[in-house]
């Protein structure tokens, strides 16, 4: 059965983003086509570094625009990542040609994915930490008193630190009172949010689902873990993000937000909505050991569930974490997936924006590929590390694209597959 024709199939009717160098999906597409990476020298108001030299930053202008998008009374509660998410969601609603006021607030679901540690970072404790440092020794009771008596700590820290900040702020900003879910992880959070939104729509618990992804790697502990594990490129190395290239030496971390508006195909059709793509299905698995078959397992499960096989896939967007080891594993998984010689072109979005935690940049690129019927080349890929994978590099590839497979993996062993296809009707 092809779920495209199933009236309970779920479609994407709107998309928005605030990503490094990209204020919209169209800008992401343009950058991808031109292989223009948006990573810049690492800069932080509070924290200096000579080791972390590049980053996919949300710049000052983007941050200001995001803050403007948040209702004034909510600004003091909202983390920067939540502000980005609100901006992306507003843009997604415009793209969906949807006035939320026209939908019963109890039928609007919100499902969010956030990266780890969106707020309680070094910066949050700065007042007290400076004082402690000047004293030369750590005095927890003294620090606690400082926070209590001088209110040196943001009194809304707990609210910001609760990783549902995105969900709470979104529900208030959009007046949504329906079904909800908030997930904190990396790639698996994005899939969990999508999965919950789809279940909610298919069961009729929601009429509209706002799916919001947001996160930043600009947090000392997280960066230290990634850097220590040699997953980030550094000064002295190539300082370029070259996934799947023989010269790859690590990724570049980033930050940002993406939002999708999801509806059932029937509802989208009824309101003549602009349908960007159908979500055919999603699948995931967790592999704790190296497993070349991980992508194959996800993909087979997904395609079997919708009655299709790999021949129905016209393009693949791979993850491309960029480190020696991670890419080696992913290449093996891609080779295993395409073992029967399928010439399905493979591209990758990660070098354009940097690795944006909890944000499915690859899915957003897949959406654009369906709309533009083109496959962008992988930026910075000049000498592919495998000749058995049909990479798209140097030049974009133009072909008829009805279905794109977006493959995901993250450091914890999580692997996923999401299939997007052209809608079977034009809204």
């Amino acid at each position: 059965m092809n779920t495209m024709d199933n009236c309970t199939s779920v479609v994407i009717t709107g998309a928005g983003c605030l990503l490094p160098g990209c204020d919209s999906p169209a800008e992401l597409w343009q950058r991808a086509l031109e292989q223009r990476c948006a990573t810049v020298p690492y800069a932080d108001d509070m924290v200096r570094s000579e080791l972390i030299t590049r980053f996919g930053h949300i710049n000052t202008q983007q941050s200001a625009a995001a803050l403007d998008a948040v209702p004034f009374k909510l600004r003091r509660y909202a983390t920067a990542a939540s502000q980005w998410g609100i901006k992306a969601t507003k843009d997604a609603l415009v793209s969906a040609n949807l006035e939320l006021a026209s939908v019963d607030a109890e039928r609007v679901g919100v499902f969010t994915a956030q990266a780890d540690y969106c707020y309680p970072a070094v910066q949050s404790f700065m007042t007290g930490i400076r004082q402690q440092y000047e004293q030369g020794e750590l005095d927890i009771p003294g620090l606690t008193h400082e926070f209590l008596n001088a209110r040196g700590m943001d009194s809304f820290l707990s609210i910001k630190g609760l990783s549902n900040n995105m969900l709470a702020i979104a529900s208030l900003a959009f007046g949504s009172r329906g079904d909800c879910g908030a997930y904190v992880q990396n790639a698996s959070a994005t899939l969990a949010a999508l999965r919950s939104a789809m279940i909610s729509l298919k069961r009729g618990d929601s009429d509209v689902a706002l799916v919001i992804f947001t996160g930043s790697y600009n947090e000392a502990l997280t960066l230290a873990e990634l850097f220590q594990a040699q997953q980030l490129t550094s000064a002295g190395a190539s300082n370029e993000f070259r996934p799947f290239d023989q010269a790859r030496d690590g990724g570049i971390a980033g930050e940002g937000a993406i939002a999708f508006v999801l509806e059932t195909a029937a509802r989208a059709r009824a309101r003549s909505a602009p349908v960007l793509a159908t979500i055919d299905g999603i699948s995931n698995t967790t592999r704790f050991e190296r497993d070349p078959s991980a992508y194959r397992r996800c993909t087979d499960r997904l395609l079997q569930s919708i009655g299709l096989d790999l021949d129905s896939v016209d393009a693949i967007v791979a993850r491309g974490l960029g480190s020696k080891d991670d890419d080696e594993q992913e290449i093996q998984q891609l080779e295993h997936l395409l073992v029967d010689g399928q010439a399905i072109p493979v591209t990758c979005a990660s070098p354009i924006t940097g690795l944006v935690p909890a944000c499915p940049v690859d899915l957003l690129l897949a959406l654009q590929m369906l709309q533009h019927q083109q496959i962008p080349a992988i930026a910075n890929l000049t000498r592919p590390a495998s000749t058995r994978v049909p990479w798209v590099y140097r030049q974009p590839h133009t072909k008829a694209i009805a279905r794109v497979l977006s493959l995901g993996r993250c450091y914890s062993g999580f692997h996923s597959a999401v299939s997007l296809s052209l809608p079977s009707f034009i809204g």
């Binding site: 540690y117 440092y133 926070f147 209590l148 707990s158 549902n164 909800c180 997930y183 992880q185 279940i199």
Partner: protein, 428 residues
């Protein structure tokens, strides 16, 4: 085709016990986990009571297991052992099956000493932090989803691994989402629940600045009193609790012990304020209505509600109003027994929904409603039957458990006793 979903394993780690039988026995006996407490070495912190896990008893209860845990946050240690206990209870240790994991988790622990590592004379420096990384507290190196990853690895879970963060509704969302996935036929077996601790100095300071925990010393260890006129805030607590959920067919095939059946899950958002629930419990009511609709049963079918019942001035009357609204038909709210397990165990924050779900399930199974402790003078705005002070035997056809979180995020779960011959079919 919809699958029926049953509970086949229970695990609880908290001050009232390290096995679900001890936990349940203590609840029915009206025991309290609330004790005098101060965070760390601070002797004059305004919050003076909490419900901490007894560390020595915890280590003794899980001797031979707890030593093998990798360094992790305090809450995750409780969660890992609770998950183990649930899997052991379900007879699933070392069984080869496609297992999914769903965890409700809250504010990540941060160690101020770690923050200090970033400082240099010229201000904070990431390079300094990185250079001193060996001094990092190894227990806090993992991400917010560390517990989910540890459980997945421990049991070689190949299914979905999800980490929920809907504040105090996190564990309820984890259980509810697992229920939905099994019912939809996406997976046959999930371990779901949560673990949390807000007893580190920085976290409790943040909560105190919000005015959430009670600082009323006059009532001693009886200051956790949901629905009482003298209530003044929640009692911070910690612990971990997990349940094993299975499709009925899967459970029957392996002759599993079945504690009860999950009928429905509902969630909603208040969209009112970040720091306060809707005063009439609008979102809470909708969450319960969504769960009832999901279960395909009428409000009159519910006999017992395990309330969110935080003992805060705002929550308890709002939840009361919500219950009266949902169960208005035939004045059914007058017939309901409603109790607040937090009166006994305190507030486990992101994990709260898990021990309360277990209490709800066992109440339905055993036909007995656990009490609301310390309810001596009910607030006139709280005028339901809250099962004050003593547990009450009663027939429970179906029961509902509420969990409401900061930010106005709500979740409700409905369970019933498992009856083998039951022909109940879902309406989904």
């Amino acid at each position: 085709m919809s699958q029926r979903v049953v509970v086949t394993g229970l695990g609880v780690v908290g001050r009232l016990g390290f096995h679900w039988r001890d936990f349940w026995k203590a609840l029915l006996a009206g025991e309290s986990a609330v004790v005098p407490w101060q965070p760390g070495a601070i002797s004059d912190f305004p919050v003076r009571y909490a419900a901490p896990v007894d560390d020595a008893a915890f280590t003794a209860a899980f001797a031979g297991l707890v030593e093998s845990l990798p360094p992790m946050e305090r809450r995750s240690r409780f969660g890992a052992m609770a998950a183990y206990a649930a899997m052991h209870d379900a007879g699933l240790i070392d069984k080869d099956l496609r297992l999914g994991v769903a965890v409700g988790s809250g504010i990540p622990e941060r160690d101020t000493a770690d923050m200090l590592l970033a400082m240099t004379d010229a201000g904070p420096s990431w390079d300094a932090f990185y250079a001193r990384r060996a001094q990092l507290n190894p227990a806090l190196r993992g991400g917010n989803d560390q517990l989910a990853a540890v459980i997945a690895r421990q049991f070689k879970a190949r299914g979905p691994v999800q980490n929920f963060s809907t504040a105090c509704a996190g564990a309820a969302h984890a259980i509810g989402s697992s229920f939905r996935m099994i019912r939809n036929g996406e997976i046959n077996c999930m371990i779901a629940g949560g673990a949390d601790s807000v007893l580190s100095p920085m976290t409790i300071t943040g909560l105190h600045l919000l005015g959430a925990p009670s600082v009323n010393e006059d009532l001693g260890d009886k200051l956790c009193r949901p629905f009482d006129e003298a209530r003044s805030g929640f009692i911070a607590a910690e612990g971990g609790a997990f349940v094993v959920l299975e499709s009925l067919d899967h459970a029957r095939t392996r002759n599993a012990t079945i504690y009860g059946e999950v009928l429905g899950f509902g969630s909603s958002m208040d969209a009112y304020r970040v720091t306060a629930p809707h005063p009439e419990g609008r979102g809470a009511a909708q969450s319960m209505e969504n769960a009832l609709r999901d279960a395909g049963i009428a409000p009159g079918d519910i006999d017992y509600i395990n309330a969110h019942g935080t003992s805060t001035p705002l929550n308890d009357p709002a939840e009361t109003m919500a219950i009266k609204h949902v169960f208005a038909a035939g004045d059914h709210y007058r017939k309901l027994a409603v109790s607040a397990t937090k009166s006994q165990i305190g507030h486990w924050i992101a994990a709260a929904g898990a021990p309360e779900f277990i209490a709800t399930l066992l109440a339905a199974r055993d036909g007995i409603a656990p009490p609301t402790l310390n309810l001596e003078n009910p607030d006139p705005a709280c005028d339901l039957d809250y099962v004050p002070l003593q547990a009450r035997p009663m027939k429970i056809g179906a029961a509902l458990s509420n969990s409401f979180g900061f930010g106005g995020l709500n979740a409700s779960l409905i369970v019933k006793p498992y009856i083998k011959e039951d022909a109940h079919e879902y309406h989904g």
